[in-house]
């Protein structure tokens, strides 16, 4: 399980053996036809829309260019300097760090606890699993809008709770102190069910005889949990952490309906920062530089993570 998990999850399935079909007779022609017909569409699509744009981002990032005509105004590494000198960039980076911290400190333990509770069979367990998974399948945009209602200072649920205590309702999304906190809560609400499902899947494929053996040898329920079940879940925990970090680095849709990264850039993520500063103003060079930095972070992270934490899987 662990082996195969690692291969699909993250970085690559390369290096697996392809079973060799040994057939007598002139079949090479048939295979050549398949190679010529079946492979190019995928390679073309992928190269054109994924690989080339990343290469072009590196090229464009050397220009001061608004996207019209050809880029001519070469300014070297200045765009990178501008990005690194922008306070909002560091705020966005900090917010991505915050999202990862909250994912690890709150979301992951919550998901694991719920998975342990719901992996057993009892009446309602399946319904609860589906309910908890539901926020994950809702569009980020819809979720963001729902919570911008929840947080609304005049009509929202939070405002109503505040008023019932006789207090003046806060405008959580409009304050630099609370906007990011409000976004973080929505992130946990939306994504904990996904991680819970990962853990439930892992728990269900767990070899239960190991737990039984531990119990027969005199381990208590919690000892069996701590020393047998949790260690067996380490591969899934590492996977869950991986998804949390990758997800944080691409978070955008959820932020837009809630705060658009504001107020005063206090709730930007890397991608919303890229959108607000590069795309919406068509500053191609500057935006590309942000994209390249984000790309470098993603790739470095993926390789480092795979090397350090998923080495033997």
């Amino acid at each position: 399980m662990a082996r195969r998990t690692a291969s699909v999850s993250a970085i690559g399935a390369a290096g697996e053996m392809v079973p060799q079909v040994r057939v007598r007779g002139p079949v090479w022609d048939g295979r050549l036809t398949v190679l010529i017909l079946f492979l190019p569409p995928a390679l073309l699509l992928f190269t054109l829309f994924v690989v080339l744009p990343i290469g072009e981002a590196a090229w464009y990032s050397g220009f001061n260019w608004n996207g019209f005509g050809r880029p001519t105004n070469w300014i070297g590494l200045d765009n990178y300097r501008f990005v690194l000198e922008t306070r909002a960039f560091w705020l966005a980076l900090r917010n991505n760090g915050l999202i990862i911290a909250v994912s690890l400190a709150i979301q992951l333990p919550l998901a694991l606890t719920l998975a342990l509770m719901l992996a057993e069979r009892f009446r309602g367990a399946v319904a609860l699993r589906m309910l908890f998974f539901m926020p994950y399948i809702l569009a980020e945009i819809a979720t963001g809008l729902i919570f911008s209602f929840v947080y609304d200072g005049d009509y929202g649920l939070v405002a109503s709770i505040w008023r019932s205590f006789g207090a003046e309702p806060p405008h959580l999304l409009a304050s630099t102190d609370t906007a990011m906190l409000a976004v973080l809560i929505v992130i946990v609400w939306k994504y904990f069910g996904f991680h819970m499902m990962l853990f439930i899947a892992a728990l269900q494929s767990l070899d239960k005889s190991l737990v039984e053996a531990a119990r027969i040898d005199g381990a208590t329920q919690s000892q069996a949990l701590r020393h047998v079940v949790i260690p067996l879940l380490y591969p899934t925990i590492r996977l869950s952490v991986f998804f949390a970090i990758v997800g944080s680095l691409q978070l955008f849709d959820l932020v837009m309906p809630l705060t658009r990264g504001g107020p005063a850039d206090s709730s930007n993520t890397m991608v919303s920062f890229l959108y607000n500063n590069g795309i919406s103003r068509m500053r191609v060079g500057y935006g590309s530089a942000i994209g390249v930095i984000l790309f470098a972070i993603c790739v470095t992270f993926a390789f480092t993570y795979k090397r350090w934490f998923m080495r033997d899987e």
Binding site: R4, F38, F46
Partner: protein, 282 residues
């Protein structure tokens, strides 16, 4: 043995804690969703004083106005077209590539597969500006294909990996026998591999569909005409127009997430399997 019975006893404190905990989480998940559903049935005035409860006076008009507006159906239609295009492109292109990688050994095959899996490393957002310029230069800006092609390209890596693993599990004695009997690779793909792979095709198709249905960034960058907007863009425009008429916005949200929820209830098996594919398929 008897442990199981003790755990299940009605007055066990651990059990009680578990039930309370589950109930609290369930309430936290449900309340915003139900408040959205019921909020759409309230008048703005009632929403202000009673955002939590059932509507005292059911305003069917909010929902009816949206359901009878051309705008709502146009948004759903656009989303459906874009998602269907993306799914069709992904399934055709990815299954062909996966078949090649699964059954044919050729020089550089593992290198090419690694090349495709590069796509798992970074989000579409990193290259979205050059992507915009590419799509513009291809003349696809403001077209359904301008959104569907990049979406399919970015979902390709995961789809190829999932399909290839499934294709490889098809016993190759079958392929061998078919080839000896004079069946070509392409016929084998069409008449054996694809029919046998319906479950994984359904899984990959569903996850691609959900991702495309919910996507916001790519359509936002690639489309300029309101008439082409998929629903995530349309609902943001709607919210901009009716900025604080929350009862209308809530009704609109409910009606736009309804298809997602119906599809989820119908295809939960495929959705859960597809979206947690990294681990479940292991």
């Amino acid at each position: 043995m008897s442990n199981a019975r003790i755990i299940r006893a009605p007055f066990d404190p651990a059990m009680l804690f578990k039930l309370v905990f589950l109930a609290v989480v369930a309430i936290i998940v449900l309340v915003p969703l139900l408040a959205t559903l019921f909020g759409g049935f309230k008048s703005l005035g009632e929403l202000r004083v009673n955002p939590f409860g059932l509507p005292r006076h059911w305003e069917w008009q909010n929902y009816a106005d949206i359901l009878f507006s051309a705008r709502y159906w146009q948004l759903l239609r656009n989303s459906l077209i874009i998602s269907t295009l993306t799914v069709a492109l992904t399934l055709i292109v990815a299954s062909m590539a996966a078949f090649t990688f699964a059954h044919i050994r050729f020089f550089g095959s593992s290198m090419l597969l690694s090349y495709l899996t590069l796509g798992l490393l970074f989000p579409a957002a990193t290259a979205v500006l050059p992507l915009f310029i590419k799509v513009r230069d291809l003349g696809l800006l403001d077209t359904y294909f301008g959104v569907a092609l990049p979406q399919a390209a970015f979902g390709l890596a995961m789809s190829v990996l999932l399909l290839r693993r499934f294709f490889k599990d098809i016993p190759y004695e079958l392929l061998e026998a078919a080839l000896v009997d004079g069946c070509s690779y392409i016929k084998f793909f069409r008449y054996v591999t694809l029919p046998l792979s319906r479950p994984i095709l359904a899984t990959v198709g569903t996850i691609t569909f959900v991702n495309s249905w919910n996507a916001y960034l790519l359509p936002l960058v690639m489309l300029n005409t309101d008439a082409l907007y998929p629903w995530p863009l349309g609902i943001m425009v709607y919210q901009g127009e009716y900025s604080s008429e929350w009862h209308l916005i809530l009704a609109f949200i409910t009606l736009t997430i309804l298809p997602t929820i119906i599809i989820f209830l119908l295809a939960q098996k495929h959705i859960v399997a597809g979206l947690t594919a990294g681990a479940v398929k292991g």
